[in-house]
């Protein structure tokens, strides 16, 4: 039965690759045909302007509306970016075929080998997002990954699929510093786990504390360090842990408005990635640190800065912050105008957070 499952998963992964390759080929063939027929080729790209980003209540995330922009090689002011886009599709095709990975920065430099100039990395980043929007696939699918800065620890068996490691297995509790979440891990098969929950935590320091205090064993959990705002590969992995292994996901952040939003992005994505649908864990739960916890646990605080306060007001107009704890906690933050970091629990001893706070919150999560 397990082998069937594995085969099934492998098949799924291969299908995904094939889908991308087919999509790229289709676009290439269309452009080829246009040129050959004396037509100027063009792409229709879903518009990512603010007016075209709408919140979809059903799937609980931001999505793009119907408007699309035409990028035509006929238009001399778009010719350059059209060519850049063609190059990127061509480059992504090679990466995917050869099962090689690249990063945003790497793409920026790779372009220079093909006489494609990007003014700076932000220009090349933009073109990458254009291709994501056209294919409706995250860039990780065509092998462009973020710089790794998040990590994972816990009893999870995986099997690599990347060239050179195919079939190699690994248990992610073998190394106490945790494992970096990179392309090989994101694309690996998730074989099995004894864990019953995934705890995503905002900070590396607390991640280490959790490993030391054996939170993985005590609470049967997989611990993930998001390293601040979770990178998209980490969000992909979180989604896979939830969807493929059926694990609930809870998020633990600093007690401030940015922490609250880190949790929200894991849950329902960001406006930046409104063109993508595979990066969210709608069932993920933010368990703390809440604004109300600051009072409740008598945490030492620091005052909110002006930009903290402005961020609060910004989020108040976000449709996802109109109800439940999201609205409630935001209002309290605005009221007390103070914030507390995860490390604040150390005032009551280094293990206070794992022994007192975490159990309470895990219990609470069940009812959320």
């Amino acid at each position: 039965m397990t082998t069937n499952k594995v085969k099934d998963r492998k098949k799924k992964a291969n299908e995904k690759q094939q889908n991308i390759i087919d999509a790229l080929k289709d676009h290439g063939a269309k452009v080829y045909g246009d040129l050959d027929n004396g037509q100027f080729p063009k792409f229709s790209i879903p518009s990512r302007s603010v007016s075209n980003i709408v919140y979809d209540k059903k799937i609980r995330q931001y999505i793009l509306g119907n408007s699309a922009a035409l990028r035509s090689s006929r238009n001399s002011s778009q010719l350059r970016s059209f060519t850049q886009l063609m190059w990127l599709a061509f480059f992504a095709n090679r990466l995917t075929h050869e099962k090689k990975s690249s990063t945003l920065r790497d793409v920026y430099y790779s372009s220079q080998a093909f006489e494609i100039e990007f003014e700076d990395q932000s220009e090349s980043d933009n073109i990458i997002v254009d291709l994501e929007a056209i294919l409706s696939k995250p860039r990780e699918d065509f092998h462009i990954f973020p710089e790794e800065r998040s990590s994972i620890f816990g009893d999870l068996n995986i099997e690599y699929t990347i060239p050179g490691y195919e079939g190699k297995k690994m248990n992610l509790s073998n190394h106490p510093d945790g494992y970096a979440i990179g392309p090989s891990l994101t694309t690996a098969e998730l074989v099995d786990t004894s864990a019953e929950i995934v705890i995503a935590i905002e900070k590396g320091g607390l991640f280490t504390r959790f490993v030391e205090e054996q939170v993985d064993k005590k609470f049967k959990s997989i611990i993930i360090n998001t390293g601040g705002q979770a990178p998209r590969s980490t969000r992909t992995l979180l989604k896979r842990l939830h969807d493929e292994l059926g694990l609930p996901v809870i998020v633990l952040t600093d007690g401030d408005v940015y922490g609250e939003h880190i949790a929200m992005v894991i849950k329902s994505g960001s406006a930046n990635a409104a063109h993508l649908r595979e990066l969210t864990v709608p069932d993920a739960k933010w368990v703390g640190v809440w604004a109300t916890d600051i009072e409740k646990f008598k945490l030492p605080t620091i005052p909110m800065t002006e930009s903290d306060i402005k961020r609060c007001y910004d989020l108040q107009s976000d449709p996802r912050y109109q109800e439940g704890i999201w609205k409630k906690e935001l209002d309290v933050f605005l009221k007390i105008k103070r914030k507390a970091e995860l490390e604040a629990f150390s005032k009551y001893g280094l293990t206070n957070i794992t022994e007192k706070y975490l159990p309470q919150k895990l219990e609470l999560a069940k009812s959320l």
């Binding site: 790229l24 080929k25 676009h27 290439g28 063939a29 452009v31 080829y32 045909g33 040129l35 050959d36 004396g38 100027f40 080729p41 090689s73 001399s76 010719l79 350059r80 059209f82 060519t83 063609m86 190059w87 599709a89 061509f90 095709n93 090679r94 093909f114 006489e115 494609i116």
Partner: protein
């Protein structure tokens, strides 16, 4: 009191200018050298213009002692191929202040030839050396004078006068003066350069003290039409001018002596025969139209006296009493004063009154002013509150002031006659600009004549862009009556109009290679200062400049957008040539093909499409 006044009155014009030489531009060695150059060159050009000769002006400045530091003595020589000055006029022309031939009303560079004499005066004051004048009016004999000015008496002192045979006509003036070429040099070079731009029909050569030679050959072969001398316009007149004009319009009762009687007899064809009184009158009536004014007056007198020539010799006219219509005379035979009545209905009466009291107002206006016809004159008389037949000679002081004021205010006079102006013309201006700046684009305009305060003026303008013009424009070249205005541009009306223009609207941006040439022609340029470097912002002139510049700017904008389109099309073509092959390369691999698509026809098509658009 009276003695001071007397002394003041005795100052000669020379002395006056000697004391006020800074007014005329001779305040220091730098400025004086520059002003002297200007005065002589402009005199030469004016002289040639007036006679329709293509000017060939040679100017040289040589240091007397090159080793000395500036300021030092220089010899300035200006030689032309103009009409020259008749030998008998030379001493007065160059040896007195306020002697000149330019008193008429027409456009000329200088006025009255005053400046040249000032330069000579300045040279004499600073170096005590005479002016050397060589003049030939026929191209065969040349008079050479060495002259000094007697400043107190305003009279020339001829040191030397010789003649010799030559082959060329023209005038050469050479003075020795204190100057500072180190400082004035660039100004003088600019002056020569800019003068040759506005005088494209002239050849100008300049040998500078350092041995450099600047030569500007003539580039057009047509002279602009010479201006004509015209009568003044009513709007540009004052009481004093009216008074002077009236002197011309009034006549004395001629003295009836033997010679006068002889003349009358001769003109009537009665030199040999003696006719009786009635016979004389019949003859006079027949010949009236051919008779001169003095003869008519004598006949008129005779008609009332009822005398023949013999009797006429024995009397003397004492008075013509206009109000009482009586004619008084002294009879030598009876040795007593007698009188006769004059019939006011008689044509002879009118002749006499006209002579004694001058012309009627309407006759004065139509004959002495430009562009006033009989009906306008009558309308004006009504406007001013005078009877049209009012005699000029009977005007009181108050009435003259009233007349002068009314002339200024009356609005139905035609605008001034521009035939006294000599604009360069569009074609020579354009040729000059093209030759000088070698631009990519050039446009010129001559505005229709306009007038301010009774002085006609014409604005000519040219605009040039690109080519060999240096960036950092607009570079403005200002001219007035073919004189370059080099300095004090800050407060000039031309600069004001140029600076008011929003060049971005005309697609001129950044530091453009851009030249504007303006030329204002007028019988009187309203200079702001005596230095003649900037033109005051008279509303009418500003308006013409503005309209001219707008017209040219629109042409420039059209050119610029064409130029922009052409550049853009080229740029675009380059873009396609660069990017389409790349797109072809990438899509070939993406589509899994081996042969690249045929995109070449797209490159050709693109250019065709662009051509159609532009």
């Amino acid at each position: 009191m009276s003695s001071i006044k007397e002394k003041f009155n005795q100052i000669s014009p020379s002395e006056f200018f000697y004391r006020n030489r800074d007014l005329a531009g001779f305040s220091n060695p730098t400025r004086s050298l520059y002003t002297a150059v200007r005065e002589f060159v402009e005199n030469s050009l004016d002289a040639c213009d007036q006679k329709g000769i293509f000017p060939d002006v040679h100017m040289s400045i040589k240091a007397v002692d090159p080793e000395k530091p500036d300021p030092k003595q220089y010899i300035l020589t200006v030689k032309d191929n103009g009409p020259g000055i008749e030998s008998k006029h030379v001493p007065l022309a160059f040896g007195t202040v306020l002697y000149g031939s330019k008193f008429g009303l027409k456009q000329a560079r200088g006025m009255f030839g005053l400046g040249a004499t000032m330069a000579i005066l300045y040279g004499q004051i600073t170096t005590n050396k005479p002016v050397l004048v060589k003049s030939s009016t026929d191209g065969k004999m040349q008079d050479e004078f060495e002259l000094l000015l007697d400043i107190q008496k305003n009279k020339p002192v001829i040191l030397k006068h010789t003649t010799k045979e030559v082959t060329k006509r023209g005038l050469s003036v050479s003075i020795c003066l204190e100057g500072d070429y180190a400082k004035a040099g660039s100004k003088i070079k600019d002056y020569v350069y800019e003068t040759s731009l506005i005088t494209p029909y002239a050849t100008i050569t300049f040998d500078d003290p350092k041995g450099e030679k600047f030569h500007y050959s003539k580039i057009v072969n047509e002279m602009p039409p010479a201006p004509t001398i015209i009568r003044p316009h009513a709007h540009g007149i004052d009481v004093e001018t009216i008074r002077r004009m009236m002197v011309d319009a009034q006549f004395e009762i001629p003295n009836i002596d033997d010679a006068m009687v002889e003349k009358v007899r001769k003109d009537l064809g009665l030199a040999k025969s003696n006719l009786a009184f009635t016979g004389i009158m019949d003859k006079a009536k027949k010949r009236w139209k051919t008779l001169s004014r003095p003869v008519r007056v004598v006949i008129s007198l005779m008609s009332f006296l009822k005398m023949d020539f013999e009797k006429l010799n024995k009397i003397r006219i004492e008075d013509i009493d206009v109000p009482n219509k009586k004619l008084y005379y002294w009879d030598f035979g009876d040795s007593q004063s007698k009188s006769v009545d004059m019939d006011p209905e008689s044509q002879y009466y009118k002749q006499l009154i006209g002579t004694v009291q001058g012309e009627t107002l309407t006759a004065f206006l139509t004959k002495r002013f430009q562009r006033i016809g009989p009906s306008t004159a009558v309308k004006f008389a009504e406007f001013a509150g005078f009877k049209p037949e009012k005699r000029m000679g009977s005007m009181t002081n108050e009435e003259l002031v009233k007349l002068s004021d009314s002339l200024q205010k009356f609005e139905d006079f035609l605008s001034p006659d521009p035939s006294c102006l000599a604009p360069l013309g569009e074609e020579p201006l354009e040729k000059g600009i093209k030759k000088f700046f070698k631009p990519d684009f050039c446009a010129v305009i001559q505005r229709p004549a306009s007038a301010y305060s009774g002085f006609p003026f014409i604005v000519e303008m040219g605009i040039a862009y690109g080519g060999e013009i240096r960036p950092g424009g607009p570079h403005v070249y200002r001219y007035a009556n073919r004189i370059p205005l080099l300095y004090d541009e800050g407060s000039d009306v031309v600069l004001k109009v140029v600076n008011d223009t929003d060049w971005v609207r005309y697609k001129v941006k950044g530091e453009p290679p851009f030249v504007i040439v303006t030329h204002i022609c007028s019988t009187r340029i309203p200079y702001k200062t005596v230095g003649k470097e900037n033109v005051a912002d008279r509303q009418e002139i500003e308006r013409e400049l503005r309209l001219g510049l707008q017209f040219l700017s629109r042409k420039l904008a059209a050119y610029m957008s064409k130029r922009g389109q052409a550049e853009m099309a080229k740029k675009r073509a380059n873009l396609y040539a660069k990017y389409l092959p790349l797109i072809a390369q990438f899509c070939t691999e993406l589509a899994g093909k081996t042969k690249e698509p045929n995109y070449k026809k797209l490159l050709e098509e693109e250019i065709i499409v662009d051509d159609q658009q532009s």
